[in-house]
Amino acid sequence: MSVDPEAILKRLQEALPGAAIVLRTNPSPSGQHSLLVAGANLIEICRFLRDTPDLAFDFLSNVTGVDWPDPAKADKAAVPAAGEGTPASEGFLEVLYHLYSISRRVGPLVLRARTQDRGDNAKIPSVVSVFRSAEFQEREIFDLYGVEFTGHPDLRRILMWDEYVDHPMRKDYVAPDDYEYEPTPHAAVLDQAQRHYPGTP
């Protein structure tokens, strides 16, 4: 029922020798370890996983975007494999793919791809040519995180309006200050309340 990512890693390393793939263990009891792949190899890895008859990962279930402004946190949440190079010094955006095989009834196989930074180089190749189900999900990550998926047939905003410029799911997004009266402000709302009504206790 569940996949063995180490075995899949070996198959991938045999089939695609130049590809940079690292196994990342997941410390939680769920045991869902993932394969960190380089963006440049992503499409050929997906195609190999889909088209090899005894792997047959034909179903991309979920594409998640994550914002890691602090790379050390990313490594704490998913322990790096032994021998991996020094972690990135600046933040990055990450996209996770959950693959299942409907014909063989196994899954999930988790792939992760990271961007170089959170600015101009936030690009990852789009897997729409391999898995059609990524179409809207990649658009959503583009809209909310700002990851540009190169090769996507129709990359535009999907949930927010076209004139919007922010990427709201990023950790450093600040919502416009639209404060209204609250009778019992607390936490973040208390800061806003004190700014608007200086006498707030």
């Binding site: 949930l159 927010m160 309006w161 076209d162 004139e163 919007y164 410029v165 922010d166 709201p168 997004y173 919502a175 416009p176 639209d178 404060y179 209204e180 009266y181 009504y197 006498g199 707030t200 206790p201």
Partner: protein, 211 residues
């Protein structure tokens, strides 16, 4: 009314009803409100349940849900109004013909509800269009919606059609259309219609008791 109530009852027992044009028109208008088929989110399901056999809104005259705003006179804003949807809501309101009423059903339509922190959530539809009745709840039960409808009917029955305090729809200078917000780079522009909504101005007393 300018007639003695005992005399009115006496006449009624003889089969003669005395009323005023205002009461008659308001009675007709309130007993046959045509809502706009306009469900946004979860409250819409309770609104549909209120029209179904168990709670039956038809007995209050509001059974005819019209798909087109040109033919409706009540807009039940049921569900969260997002900033992306807000211009459409205001446009629909503008397309309705006077007299028109708005019920804000559910916490989200009143003030943003549980999603108030959201970057895409409009904190209450009363920022852009005038609301007549609010029904709190998340979602309010169908009985609460019926109570809201009855409150609206009572409000309509008290409307004046002549004189200084007449209702907006009876006033030739009254506004029937409100400005539609535009999509800005970070938020709607304007964030609220300042003519009909302003955040409450609260002066909190500091520790020393000064105003």
């Amino acid at each position: 009314m300018a007639i003695d109530s005992k005399l009115a009852e006496d006449l009624k027992s003889q089969g003669v009803h005395v009323t005023s044009f205002e009461s008659l028109i308001n009675w007709g208008r309130s007993s046959s409100l045509w809502p706009l088929q306009f469900g946004l989110a979860c409250c819409a399901i309770e609104m549909i349940a209120a029209t179904m056999a168990k709670y039956d809104m038809a007995r209050f005259g509001a059974e005819v849900f019209r798909p087109s705003p040109r033919q409706a006179d009540l807009m039940i804003v049921a569900g969260t109004v997002t900033k992306k949807m807000a211009p459409q809501v205001v446009r629909l309101y503008n397309q309705m013909a006077e007299p028109k009423y708005v019920i804000a059903m559910g916490a989200c339509a009143i003030s943003g509800g549980p999603f108030k922190e959201g970057y895409n959530v409009l904190k209450g539809i009363d920022r852009f269009i005038p609301v007549d009745v609010v029904i709190p709840g998340c979602p309010p039960r169908p009985e609460a919606l019926l109570e809201g409808l009855l409150t609206l009917r009572a409000k309509i029955a008290k409307e004046k059609l002549l004189g200084k305090h007449r209702a907006r729809h009876a006033d030739p200078d009254g506004t029937a259309a409100y400005p539609v917000p535009e999509f800005g780079a970070h938020d709607l522009e304007p964030t609220a219609n300042r003519d009909i909504w302003n955040p409450p101005s609260v002066v909190r007393e500091a520790e020393g008791g000064e105003a």
